[in-house]
Symmetry: C2
């Protein structure tokens, strides 16, 4: 697949497409199947009617006319391959839970439970117990139960870094939200303030590109001590996804008018554009990303545009609030030990709607193409 | 792993263990992790407290003191490899949905929704649309919505029959049940009657063994016409898992006193022993299994004990009722075009508790070892 290249890029630069995840191809398939999936909304027995459209961070089922059940499914992705390289599996369960509960928060829901599905190439009791240890720790941090799960041994369907080591770690989380309190990005006013909360590192996105750069391109090993990181490459790459349940639930309980909440995953800050109301964002401040991002960017000769498209770049979760709520949100984040920043503001100006401008970098992200390019 | 062999077995006979799914090893891991997972029950925020223990067909979350949310997760398993061999993907989604909604029915819940997670080695739009077609059809049959899903491209984690063809198809279903109407196998009396409903074939269990027999041992191709089957091998193996939602919901609505419901998956009729109340079962009638089972058994030189441990053997779902309810249950199954049989009865006799006796075969299944052996 070729994409218009508006920005000169280093020869041999590595992009997400060349590293094996074809997001444009994915978009095409998603759009084609969306129609069929949306038809199932009409099949639902009482209690199963979705109140949101497809494509938001989570959907919400109308349980009884007043209570909503938020639901989301996601996996730890190819980060499991890092766990396999390092030989350490006690944090990957945190990633699996975090990816799901952070999504639930975005509709204003309080996560309550998660079921896990672990597909393995071969069953290893020790590894499985480490995985459960991570799920357990994340359940504790997220105040959720794990009411059940499934371990599937599928040697012919799963593979990994070494023969027998393959796995896929999937979770589905549910939570509760009053139907009249669902947050979906409505009622946004010009000048509403965008606040970003710090990520712990790569979280669980962009690992296909990161692995390509570090392992294939640079030929580094996970036990390499990288002075800029202050830890080994494996430790930096394995750092678990931050769980935002505690600070965000406190924000939701406050009297701050929260307009939207966004879990920053693949597509980076373009996730902000999922709001039901069509808006744009002008970002005037970007925090300095953790060192892993600069090491990766330099190592792969990757453009800023590509980095901000694929990675969270230090911002794991965003909150959009009316200006009078800013101090409260920043204080709540700080109370929970999470760095946070005023990144910019929402705009309703027609020429900016559907775009995320990263002013310090001179880049504009386009929600429809899913790319950043120079302004 | 070796197991005590009480029954002479053909030389080179293929069992589930030698075919790559080590259920005993799986049991050990499951028991070790059960403790950690059960601890998360105490982490749950209000609405997330599981009311059942781990290991039943589905768990139920106490949403508000009166309404329960049933939840279950499972995949189509290695049946996806059959779809790959045949090159037909429009039914595998039915298997994914069926495995989950049939589990929800077992606690007396009405399924409402399912989220799907499709991990692929490479994204193929045509294949993806076929998969969604199956999910769509199963959602229609099950009266559920699909409020969302995830497509994960993970070339280095997933593999299949041919390079690029790999996939894993996972679902998580939720449903509703009043907390005071959960069915979990309590109040069973001596002589309660066990009714079996017909399966459509292998459903979604035992494919690791079936593939070993047909492809590795016999060297058959999926397009082989097998006269005994009246269709090709691929067609027989791909036959989608029966969805029992309509007949079972009607049984639940009737005034019949249903004691337990069991989705017959891996472990066959031993699934009956999951009841909370400890009971035994005496099966005096076994239906003639569909031809695919006899072709498979003969082809692999597999014992009856092994066949009844790994496969549903023609019985996909069981209902345990008080004797006066039998006629109603049989009639409801028939109205929905599902063959059904009185298989036997429950017993509380101490020497039989924890066992499923298959009297026509002289076999007794032991819930703790998970095996059948001659009496």
């Amino acid at each position: 697949m070729t994409q218009p290249e508006k920005q000169p890029r280093a020869e041999n630069a590595i992009t997400y497409e060349t590293s094996g995840v074809d997001t444009q191809q994915a978009e095409t398939a998603i759009s084609a199947i969306t129609k069929a999936v949306r038809q199932t909304f009409d099949f639902a027995a009482p209690g199963g009617r979705p109140v949101l459209d497809l494509g938001y961070f989570a959907n919400v089922l109308d349980l009884d006319g007043s209570l909503g059940l938020a639901i989301s499914t996601d996996s730890a992705g190819t980060k499991v391959l890092i766990a396999q390289r390092v030989g350490r599996y006690d944090t990957i369960g945190i990633d699996c839970v975090a990816m799901n509960v952070n999504d639930l928060l975005c509709v204003g829901a309080r996560p309550t439970s998660l079921v896990d599905y672990v597909a393995v190439e071969q069953l290893d009791n020790g590894i499985m117990q480490q995985i459960i240890q991570g799920l357990h720790e994340a359940a504790r941090q997220s105040h959720i139960s794990i009411p059940g799960g499934e371990i599937a041994q599928m040697a012919d369907c799963i593979r990994g870094e070494a023969p027998g080591s393959g796995m896929d770690l999937v979770g589905t989380a549910v939570g509760l939200v009053a139907l009249d309190q669902i947050i979906v990005g409505d009622g946004i006013n010009e000048g509403d303030v965008l606040i970003g909360m710090s990520s712990s590192g790569l979280h669980s996105n962009g690992y296909t590109l990161a692995r390509k750069v570090f392992f294939d391109h640079l030929g580094w090993e996970v036990d390499r001590e990288v002075s800029e990181l202050g830890e080994t490459l494996g430790e930096a790459l394995l750092r678990p996804t931050r769980i935002y349940v505690d600070p965000v639930l406190e924000m939701l309980k406050s009297d701050v008018s929260i307009k939207s909440l966004a879990h920053i995953t693949g597509d980076g800050l373009l996730n902000l554009l999922r709001t039901r109301q069509k808006v744009g964002f002008q970002v005037h401040t970007l925090p300095k990303p953790p060192a892993i991002f600069s090491v990766l960017q330099r190592g792969g000769g990757i453009s800023d545009a590509e980095m901000y498209r694929v990675f969270n770049m230090g911002i794991g979760f965003c909150v959009l609030v009316a200006p009078e709520g800013v101090d409260s949100i920043l204080a709540t984040a700080e109370e929970h030990g999470v760095d946070s920043w005023v990144l910019g503001h929402a705009t309703l100006a027609e020429e900016h709607v559907g775009h995320v401008q990263l002013l310090p970098l001179g880049l504009s992200g386009d929600g429809s193409s899913g790319t950043f390019s120079p302004e």
